[in-house]
Symmetry: D3
Subunit: 243 residues, 6 copies
């Protein structure tokens, strides 16, 4: 279904792509996609509490540890990962970094893009990552940006699931069945040694979304769904059949 | 893609299904679907101005004329049409009529359902039709309603395009390419002799949605789209691939 | 500016038109409009607490007292008032009552219509009154309803100010300067002997809206505004100049 | 904290109060509240699939089974339960039933009220129950309804958690720590023999809300929270301190 | 009605003011307004695809071509146009540029202001232009900014029509009848040689808005409207009459 | 109730904390809180019209006058006030200023935080202040920011009342009874010599909110409320009792 296709994930911190899109990554990789992940920061200040509680810690040590965890998880899922190392809490994205992301778009030519929710009152780095993912996509479509390069088409954009969904005004309109790759996602999750308290939390998220996905195809449907990821598609679909 | 599948359209007045979903009907019919249209009323009071301006008119004569137009259009599109004759301006739906629609659901077992927008400040019959389409779907899913009948699954529900979209808070998230069946839709539109002023209006709607659909797949995409219909899908999709 | 024009107010209870639209009534009356007020109920159960606390009270006595207050206020403002006496808490509007309101529309041919906010979690009679005001307007536009009568055009609909505006999701987009008729509105307010605790409350509302109206034309504008009423226009304006 | 206080739960179907508010019931009961639950229907048609799949079933048998389950659960939680038996799928609430609920309000004089979300595209019985809960509250406040009875004050209204929260546009703004009564809630859940597939689902809901509640008081707070229920308070709070 | 009045248009790219506000410009010019247009960029990267596809193109050549087209269109419409040349895809507005726009406000003293929609997921330059138009307006109102200059009043702000209106959450609440100046708008549109594919698109937009405007004044109204532009007024109106 | 507790107010201009949160400050101070106010600017350009109209004025003189007024008001209310002097119209907040605010959070360890509404189309400095108040709070929670310092918990965030509430999409969900400290708030208001036109305006605001607060506890409640402030709590509450 996907020969020669690719997908792009824009992750604010180095672990976000695992909790929130690990199933999509593993599943599409399995189906032949090239998967590219961009981590804008390592989450070194705001999402590494356990590491900081160890003695003798420095920013560089935390970043190194976070990078290693992310690389191990990416390996498990089958993704290439690139770190922009822009800093977190607060994440700040210069125009130079934005154009670097445009270059990624032009190189990867993604069939679709995953990033964070449009709002997140608990974490301003997250919606900024999504904003940048969208702005880079728009620039990558412009013929007058680096003329001569191949422009990108109109890859659909999805917001993956934030932590407290309702507070983020995030609305799942797309469920992805990840049952067949759940084991890989769980193994990737377990690479995040510094956030072990979240392993069971995100396992339960996958189970709940699985139940809801099943309900949305009808309890009488043949397909069994145990684990799912939920997404908010924010660009319209163009289809040839409505079923 | 659709052998033995069927679709259901719930239309407040007898012409709505033509302007708003004629392309979807013709396209899915061509692809092998059974198409069932339920017209809750004939639109005899509120949408038959031209007929009333003729002399010697009665409600029964208007209903007869509207029925004939709708049947001709349904023939062109390939749909079966059933008239509930519940009256319009205002439309009122008794529980008896609601359960009749449940029976249709159980009989048709639709793969998806099309009806009006959730709000329409210009026409209260329209959102009522959608409300009833949803409520009947829910009842048709209940094992305890007429036990022994085959319950329906969870067919996606779409709101087709209302007249003044923004006032109706209607948000198109799905574009259907109807280029290959446009001629049939136009012929069906021309069956509506009493509303000739709308022929060009809805032709322009289809052209505008075609341009937008094209933009949403990217201007570099191979597929050419000239005419489209836009829909608001109001139930989540469950998918195995995000592209 | 308004010779031969008329306006219509649809009031859930017999005092609402005074607190919420008294300035608009007095101002347009002064400018030559015919003003028609329909009170769907007397507010006899839910808005007559002071009367009920008197001894020996009955529903009929309360209704009589409320009618007299409303008639005195209407006289002060220059309005004709018609009571539908449909009951309150809960207000219920039969199709017969709806069609009676359609007859009022056809008779009055209003240039614009005022009613309650679209939502009100504190009082379900209010949004029902607005719903009915809108539905009757739509039916009054239909050529097939009582053919031969003169249909109504597309009179703008405004929601007047509810009690707790933000809870009602009511958004004022139109301020009406009522400075020149404030005295009449205050006298009409004082006809409501049973709700004396609200006199100062609604005087302050008028002062606050006056300050806001002044701010919205610019503090350097020549026009002085001391008292205003705020409205949410819910139908689009069609204009020939944007200033 | 609550001597002589009471609370009211308005449940569309006979099991809703258990899944969605069982913790609140057990906790407040433990703290001295009288707890009253009104079940508008038994959920006999739409939420009893497992029972219907048994042979030889009738509506009356299903209702009896559902009543017994609900009564056992209510016993475990410490609630009085009253069944209005209005039917489900669709639930319809006559004015007579509405006024019966007003009588309950006047009798119970609740300190707060729990019911369903304001919207639920998957189940129209749910928002109707909330609508009725609000409307009965408003009527119970009216001095002119059954004059002489003690009117109710302004009890806060909360929407408990629906099944697919985001689709229901439900926003949790209040988390209730139910850790100390979790065992009772789980036992009440297990009374619902006909819906065993939901036991683990709602256990996971309680765990997720527990994690979120903990996050919302700060991870450094002394209080440990393992299980929580989430609510959307839809009426404003009046307080003497903001912390 | 408009002697000595002026209007201001803030356009992100050099063609936006033509497609989206050309009718308003021509109409108000005809009625005696001074019309000032500020183009923040030339749209040289993102909206000049056809130019870039020619051989031997450079940014400067594209900008020159875009400037000439815009100037020709402004001449046809009767507008003065000023180019800020801030770059596009992405547009970035420094505080220096913001204050230059404040100077324009103070000089022009506009009776009203037109700019882009508040949101546009397809084009982030557009909402930025509107943001800057609003922020400059606020600063131009401040007595402490360049004390001694004449401050501006409170000119209404309108968002003109974006490309995919519903995706932009743009709500038209004001229709402007441009029938009498349509020919000028069409001639201005035809100055945009590089975007010929949009000529018919925006002609159809004007026809559709004309039909809707007509409907919003009532089909029985004497005034005929063939072409219209739609606007979202985002500041409240202060009026002396509600019809 | 509040020994050793503190609260933080983030005010865009030097008078905002008085009009909008003066009651909360006085009340909590009276109850033992330490109160810290941060004024991001003096409002020297945009909110000092009266001062500028005096002859011989300079920015520094205006700032000095505004500082003195704010300090006098803070004294009356019992608050410590710190001025960041970042400029207004437009306010701009560098990362350096943001981190200075983070230091304040770490020092004050507030039990709750008050700032402006999330939107304000009349004043972009206001939502920026709230944005910064939230972002600083998030950074102050991060263990990796200045490791070794005591991080803050999850203090609730409230938006105080903006000028035109509905235009700001601000929804009051919390009323604070300030009757017992009203005299202090009025005295603090009267320190604002340059904005005397607002004294009565904000007195009326307090009276209106008092009436509404009373209504929201029920007219039969024992507690009398004459003056209140309204707040929008934007973070969820975690409670042990729902009444």
């Amino acid at each position: 279904m996907a020969a020669n296709q690719s997908m792009l994930v824009v992750s604010a911190h180095s672990a976000d792509f695992v909790w929130r899109a690990g199933g999509a990554i593993a599943l599409h990789k399995k189906n032949g996609y090239r998967v590219k992940v961009v981590c804008l920061s390592f989450g070194e200040r705001g999402e590494s509490a356990k590491l900081w509680r160890k003695g003798e810690m420095t920013i560089e040590k935390v970043k190194t540890a976070r990078r290693e965890e992310a690389e191990r998880a990416a390996d498990v899922l089958g993704a290439e990962v690139e770190f922009f190392d822009l800093g977190d809490y607060p994440l700040r994205v210069s125009d130079e970094a934005l154009l670097r992301l445009v270059d990624v778009y032009r190189d990867v030519q993604p069939a679709f893009v995953l990033s964070h929710s449009l709002k997140d009152p608990y974490n301003f780095d997250h919606p900024l990552a999504m904003h940048v993912a969208q702005e880079a996509r728009i620039i990558a479509q412009a013929e007058g940006h680096n003329p001569g390069q191949k422009i990108v088409g109109a890859p659909p954009v999805y917001a993956f699931e934030p932590h407290q969904t309702e507070q983020c005004e995030w609305m799942p309109n797309t469920f992805l069945d990840i049952t067949e790759v759940w084991d890989a996602k769980r193994r990737a999750i377990e690479c995040m040694a510094g956030q072990e308290h979240l392993w069971e939390y995100y396992t339960r998220v996958a189970l709940q979304r699985g139940v809801q996905a099943k309900r949305n195809i009808g309890i009488t449907a043949a397909r069994n769904i145990e684990y799912a990821e939920a997404y908010q598609r924010i660009t319209p679909a163009v289809v040839g059949d409505l079923s």
